[in-house]
């Protein structure tokens, strides 16, 4: 047997990708440090506000009876919605074998994990006695008292802990080969870190096969988790007897809204990464255009659901629900409502529908308005419903947020940015092995990002 004929051209593209994508792991710039300090300051202020609120009492917020839930629950739903950017979209793209996904999935999965870490804090932040949050967990204790499994908040506990476990695993598995690469290229403490994280990855063919199979199978399961999580979050409202909350539409409505805001967040973060880390070769206008098309679908779907929600309320004309309806259309919350309609539909729809406008700038503008609009949408579900309860003599209360609520909300935005910045300095933002994946393999059409 002769020695194999060797093609002279090496996998230059993958090597270049490895170089570019591992570069952020080696250097931190001045801007990065300044930005981190700024974000840490905002987070610190938010933590102070939380401690202040915990020690003085929730009265420092604008919440009063009957609006028991306000900004914090809005933030909770919003962040859990953002978390649907990643795992769900990435899993769908994986299962449908969309080849343009390689550059997108890692960034998306990271959003999921961080948004869940942040969103999962809000149920604790909004507690009257946050230091007793562990009472919501079923842990053995000396009085043998267990939590109430009939409460939707308890379902949240299980759903979110499942989701965060699943999506962390789902982020971690495709990272392993890249961590091994980073281990082989790094020195010092980083090498130690990557060595422990890469779990003895060698790159044997058995490992590749098992890993690819596991990712594929988990993609199927994680879709079931993701859909159920936001449905369960919507059930926090839909299970209540509050007139405008008690609605069967909330499950799909929340899931659609979650994917909607999730894609928008993904587009914004991708644009930032592209600019900051010079990933123009990997995150191309085509990616933004493709995600823009997905976003367009979700815009239409969102419009469909909102129409459904409003038209049934209006036609049914039940007095309990109409008070909420009118408070949104022309009452206390009307400015927010119409801003939401503009942000979620009137601005993004033309931008995303016209091919000429569906550029990187265009999709980013649409995404920013959608993020604002979706936050308002969550707010307009939570607050007007709570404020307009059945006994009409309580309905005069108009909710305004106080500075603690606003500060904590801003702090979580900063936390998201900081977590993402930290992630970008420790892990490659684009799956390097998947970028090259398939190029060498037998099927020629499943290659590359372009």
């Amino acid at each position: 047997m002769s020695s194999p004929a060797i093609a002279a051209s090496p996998a230059t593209e993958s090597r270049a990708a490895a170089e570019t994508l591992l570069k952020p792991l080696q250097f931190t710039g001045k801007m990065y440090r300044r930005m981190s300090i700024l974000l840490l300051a905002v987070i610190g202020w938010g933590m102070f506000c939380f401690l202040y609120q915990a020690f003085v009492g929730l009265g420092v917020t604008g919440l009063r009876r009957p609006v028991f839930w306000g900004f914090f629950v809005t933030d909770f739903v919003f962040w859990i919605g953002i978390s649907h950017a990643g795992t769900l979209i990435s899993a769908i793209l994986r299962l449908t074998n969309a080849t343009w996904r390689f550059a997108v999935t890692r960034a998306a999965e990271a959003i999921t994990v961080f948004a869940l870490m942040i969103g999962g804090l809000f149920p604790i932040v909004h507690l009257g006695r946050p230091w007793l949050f562990f009472w919501l967990a079923p842990y053995p204790n000396e009085r043998l008292i267990w939590p109430n499994f009939r409460s939707p908040l308890e379902w949240d506990f299980f759903a979110i802990s499942t989701y965060i476990t699943a999506s962390t695993i789902y982020l971690f598995l495709p990272l392993i080969p890249d961590l091994a690469l980073a281990r082989d290229r790094a020195r010092g403490w980083r090498q130690k870190l990557y060595r422990s994280l890469s779990m003895n990855w060698q790159g044997t063919q058995t490992q590749w096969h098992k890993l690819e199979l596991a990712i594929q199978l988990m993609a199927a399961v994680v879709i079931g988790v993701a859909v159920s999580v936001h449905t369960i979050v919507s059930w926090d409202f839909a299970m209540a007897v509050v007139p405008s909350w008690h609605s069967t539409i909330f499950g799909p409505y929340f899931v659609a809204g979650a994917i909607f805001s999730g894609i928008a967040a993904l587009i914004i973060i991708m644009a930032i990464l592209r600019r900051v880390y010079h990933l123009e070769a990997y995150l191309t206008p085509k990616h933004f255009s493709n995600l823009g098309k997905l976003l367009l679908t979700m815009t239409l779907l969102w419009g469909y659901f909102v129409t459904n929600e409003l038209i049934t309320t209006w036609y049914g004309n039940l007095p309990d629900e109409m008070s909420t309806f009118w408070s949104k259309i022309s009452g206390h919350y009307a400015p927010l409502f119409w801003t939401m309609v503009i942000c979620n539909f009137l601005i993004p729809f033309p931008i995303l529908a016209l091919k000429r406008l569906r550029t990187i700038t265009g999709t980013v503008i649409a995404s920013i308005t959608i993020i604002i609009g979706m936050w308002l949408e969550r707010f307009l579900i939570v607050v007007p419903g709570a404020a307009n309860q059945r006994l009409s003599f309580n309905s005069w209360f108009g909710y305004y947020p106080h500075w603690t609520e606003i500060s904590i909300t801003l702090a979580t935005l900063s936390a998201m940015a900081l977590l993402y910045m930290g992630f970008s300095k420790l892990f490659p933002l684009i799956s390097i092995w998947e970028l090259g994946g398939g190029k060498h393999a037998a099927a020629p059409e499943t290659g590359g990002t372009q």
């Binding site: 009957p66 909004h126 006695r129 506990f157």
Partner: protein
């Protein structure tokens, strides 16, 4: 785990009838409730921002217009529902219906998710937004049988459960079943018009048992299906000038007059 059982022939099931014909809207029940249950006085600033705590409150609705306008005073406390919507939503089992049908709030267990407050169609639940202070002279008036609630927990009417328990202990000492006439919640005790009647629904010959299913009695928001253990005796008016519209049974259907 389970409640201290009272050795009596039957388990009582406490309920209340509020006679809207007798109620004058004098608010004595509100004051008595506040004194009995150590309810915090939150001050004028909080009151302007819906931050008051009133386990018993008088809700005033106007019916009719112009010269025909009529006021209806309706004392509203926790309606002590059989199917209380506030209970299953609590993730830590801080609220449940005890053996005697009283929907109770376990202050020690409450972590303050405030879900119960949202899910109460009567808004009969109140949250301690702050650690409320008592003025120095007021502090000596605190009822020693009732805890002071700290910040961050829910509270609500419990039919003066401290009085119920005291009567049951007394009955136990005297080795006799508890009598409903031994117990009066503070609101019922203080009502000068005797509009509030407290009693045992499981006693068919008692104060409430004899009239409980009378046609003149209504529940608040029957459409929610909460099956309250508080019923209202409907206001009966002499035929005078006709009202512009039919008088609704529930407050929700009564038209509101904007002041």
């Amino acid at each position: 785990m389970s409640q201290p059982k009272v050795k009596s022939a039957h388990t009582p099931r406490w309920g209340m009838i509020i006679d809207l014909n007798a109620c004058t809207g004098c608010s004595a029940c509100m004051v008595a409730c506040r004194a009995e249950n150590n309810i915090a006085i939150t001050g004028p600033k909080e009151a302007a921002y819906n931050g008051t705590i009133q386990w018993m409150r008088i809700e005033r609705t106007w019916k009719g217009r112009g010269r025909d306008i009529r006021v209806e005073n309706r004392p509203v406390n926790c309606q002590q529902c059989y199917d209380a919507p506030c209970e299953p939503v609590c993730p830590v089992l801080a609220t449940y219906t005890n053996d005697e049908g009283v929907s109770v709030q376990v202050y020690n267990r409450c972590v303050g998710t405030r879900y119960c407050g949202l899910n109460c169609p009567y808004q009969g639940r109140f949250f301690n937004w702050f650690d409320y202070a008592w003025a120095p002279t007021m502090e000596v008036q605190l009822n020693p049988d009732v805890t002071r609630r700290t910040r961050g927990i829910m509270e609500k009417c419990s039919f003066c459960i401290q009085r119920i328990t005291a009567a049951e202990r007394q009955a136990e000492l005297e080795k006799r079943p508890v009598r409903e006439t031994d117990i009066q919640p503070a609101c019922a005790q203080s009502c000068p018009a005797q509009a509030l009647h407290f009693g045992d629904l499981n006693n068919p010959d008692g104060v409430l048992g004899t009239v409980w299913n009378a046609p003149g009695l209504e529940v608040l928001l029957p459409e929610v299906g909460t099956r309250p253990k508080v019923r209202y005796a409907r206001r009966v008016r002499p035929l005078r000038a006709p009202l512009a519209e039919s008088t609704g049974n529930s407050i929700a259907s009564a038209p509101e007059v904007k002041a």
